[in-house]
């Protein structure tokens, strides 16, 4: 018996009878929230049943009494805003580090990441004074690509100048960038410059075909990827990007490196959604053209892959955004899906510098994509190298978060557990992670040298 068939006497319709509800008779849907261009986050807010799983995942709430936690920042704040027109976004949203632990933890599928990004965007555009030090500093940090581009013109001078005592003292005082941190050195040759020398896409095609011949695969196999290298592996750690190209070509993939800007991750985290959108438009446009031609996109930075896969479609309505999202992968994950990389690594061996015991930290953004165990799994049987998971804590730096003087201590407190596990759990002083800023934090706290999984794969299979 459905509601429509239920036999209700109109005279009785004021009486509530739970086994035969008198709904559906003269029901007229009411548009509670009239047309608006804003995000409609109601479905997410309605799905929250307040189990607080998100709160127990929040690394900031664990160390900061003032931070009300993700359940408040997401569903509760959104409901409050609907209740009266006067409620504005609470300034505690700026204490969220955008680690997205809450986002992947919710058993009810509440899009906490989207809610936080939206709230932060609104706070920054409505509440934050654009002449404030906080705004200016955040804007500079969020637009790291611009600074890095400039610095890469004079890499030696920049590396020296950015870590020069008096300069750092000034930056701490004026811009509130903590003097305790070391700026990462800039590479003398960017990945892009190297890539051009390698002959770009044409060179890659030749090398990939050569590999296919060696592997006994059809020479014209449709194996092609578009590489989203991100800013950091272009300007700071080109060895990671080079390793990726070499490993992909080894497996017979043609690599192209399309026009790209910042993935937007630091911009989301600082509520600079307009900046993020401008960059996203460029990235989506060049990536979607390639996806249409049969390419898949791969990224070696787990925050970049997360941005393209999840944050873009959550926040921006750009032509092709869903197609790019559906066809973007983290670079090791992609090989796990399509190649027997596990088997090849089981038969391989590493010697030399990378024959070490790595303390592996899974970045929160890798966790969000379900990748927190892949390095441990892949390298478990690799002869010569060992890998030790240093636990599930957050590294605390969260991109630009730990680069703010007022957040520095909190960032280090969150990281305590990771530092401790790195030092207790491993004999060699090397660490491993996919995320450039997690790597910075790991190095900052322990003095370890930090490598990317792609570098170990390169060493194991190619060297």
């Amino acid at each position: 018996m459905s509601d429509a068939e239920s036999n209700i006497n109109p005279a009785d319709e004021t009486e509530f009878e739970p086994t035969a509800p008198n709904t559906g008779e003269e029901f007229e849907p009411v548009d509670v929230f009239p047309d608006s261009d804003d995000f409609d986050l109601r479905p997410g807010a309605d799905s929250c049943y307040k189990c607080s799983t998100c709160d127990t995942n929040c690394p900031v709430a664990e160390v900061d009494d003032e931070f009300p936690g993700p359940k408040f920042q997401g569903p509760e704040q959104w409901r409050l805003k609907q209740a009266d027109g006067e409620h504005t976004i609470d300034d505690s949203i700026m204490d969220c580090s955008n680690c997205l632990r809450c986002d992947s933890s919710c058993p009810s599928g509440v899009p906490l990441g989207q809610m936080h990004n939206t709230a932060r965007g609104e706070y920054v555009s409505e509440e934050l004074d654009t002449f404030s030090v906080e705004y200016i500093r955040n804007r500079i940090l969020a637009n790291y690509r611009t600074s890095a581009w400039l610095a890469s013109k004079f890499p030696r001078t920049s590396s020296f100048f950015m870590n020069f005592g008096p300069v750092r003292w000034m930056m701490d005082k004026v811009l509130k960038v903590p003097k305790e941190r070391d700026f990462p050195p800039f590479a003398k040759e960017t990945f892009q410059q190297w890539w051009k020398k390698q002959g770009g896409a044409a060179g890659s095609k030749e090398r990939a075909q050569e590999s296919r011949r060696r592997r006994g695969e059809p020479v014209d196999a449709e194996k092609k990827v578009a590489y989203f290298h991100g800013c950091y592996s272009n300007y700071n750690t080109p060895e990671v990007a080079k390793a990726l190209v070499n490993v992909y070509e080894y497996f017979g993939y043609e690599v192209v490196v399309p026009e790209q800007k910042c993935s937007g991750t630091p911009m989301f985290a600082n509520g600079m959604l307009d900046d993020a959108r401008r960059h996203a438009e460029v990235n989506v446009s060049s990536m979607s053209d390639l996806v249409e031609q049969g390419y898949d996109a791969v990224a070696s930075c787990t925050s970049c892959s997360l941005a393209l896969r999840q944050e873009y479609p959550e926040l921006f309505d750009i032509d092709g955004v869903d197609e790019v999202s559906d066809n973007t992968f983290e670079s090791v994950e992609y090989l796990r899906i399509h190649e027997d990389i596990r088997g090849e690594l089981e038969d391989a061996e590493v010697s030399g510098e990378l024959a070490a015991e790595f303390g592996y930290h899974a970045p929160c953004h890798a966790r969000n994509q379900g990748l927190e165990r892949q390095a441990v799994e892949l390298f478990g049987e690799l002869e010569g190298a060992e890998i030790e998971d240093v636990g599930d804590s957050c590294s605390g730096i969260s991109g630009t978060y730990g680069w703010k003087s007022e957040k520095y201590e909190k960032s280090m407190k969150i990281a305590d557990e990771m530092f401790e596990h790195m030092e207790e759990g491993t004999d060699s002083e090397v660490g491993m992670t996919e995320c450039p800023t997690c790597a910075m934090q790991m190095e900052h706290g322990t003095g370890y040298e930090i490598r990317h999984p792609m570098e170990l794969i390169e060493e194991a299979l190619l060297e």
Binding site: P107, Q310, G370
Partner: protein, 425 residues
Amino acid sequence: MAIDSDVLVIGGGLAGLTSALAAARSGADVRLVSYKQSTLRNASGLIDVLGYTPDGDGPLTDPYGSIPDLPTEHPYRTVGLETVREAMSLFDEAAPQYQGEHTDTNALLPTHGGTVKPTARYPAAASAGVASDSRDMLLVGLEAMTDFDAGHVAAHLEAAGVPFDVRGETVRFPGDLKYDAKVTRYAKLLDENGKVSVDGTKRPARTEFIERVKGKLDGEDRVGFPAILGDTNAAGVRAAMSEELGADVFEVPMGPPSLPGLRLEDRLFEALDEAGGMFETGNPVRDFEADDGHVEHVLVEKNGAMVPYSADEFILATGGLVGKGINSDREGVFEPIFDCHITHSEDRYDWFDTEAFGDHPFASFGVETDSTLRPLDDSGSVEFENLRAAGAVLGGYDFAAEKSGSGVSIATGYEAGNTATMEAQ
């Protein structure tokens, strides 16, 4: 297709973890995939086998003694009494911080609502709180924690007729944490004896907390707290507090989010890792491809991309109505991945009882299986030759009324993991 294993377990709760652990220990190459974090973090951390009969008789003294009398469709009857015992032994090995294995008799544990609950295993952290112990008890609540009202819990326990005197006191947690401070915040401060601000000076939180509780003690031999006593160093926190207070310290299990549940989750994943099992969390299994009644692979959705995960044997441990392993809409009740058959009335008004605590048919919704836990279709034939089900996705029992949820998950997980391994090899 490169992501492959002998056994693939879908679901990261108690049933999924036990399945994977059993399979890994009997030599299978096993992978566990869980859409979200384990639901164990919402669980009290108590491991029940059977507290009441389906007719409501109880609390039962011996849970195992009543298993042969359960209805034939009950999952315990499917796997048999011996398997339940073996499965519990596996749990005892995997979770050494649990107690209760020395006896078949149910222990009686106080809950944060002040009731007394029959349970088969309990964390060492809760052991000094057992209600059969006649030592007097002090319960300590926190001013800023509304989920645990010590006075109320003590009064309820007294009304339940416990054989000891029990008193409730409330103290303020040092550092004046906010009313919505997370359980993880308390736990971390206690773990690390972290500094908090007390009357303008920085004081170690645990030391200061112990001082405050000391003043409330009146000769009781044991002191109970809401379950916030440490996370990574819980045993250390408890030992330090017991020594300073001169009384046994214990935790009363709480509602979600629950630290005892979190600790058990951590421990079981660690055990799976030690046994060589692989696992990943964060992406849902959406679909599958089968050939002639044989599941070839399932499709894991990764932000829109459907990625095949192949295996010889599959275990469905996706949970029940709460865990979303079983779903319903106005048209019917269904199992969302394989669309396994679930017996239910066509009229959805027959799915529930009008009394809130009545005998709700929905509570027993779930898949029916053959004797090796393979789901059956509506004609009683096996749905897929290499798919088994474990835990709350199974029908034929009402775990909330019987207090049998953990035991069924462990027993059926164990059976499914072992049988799948045997078939795969």
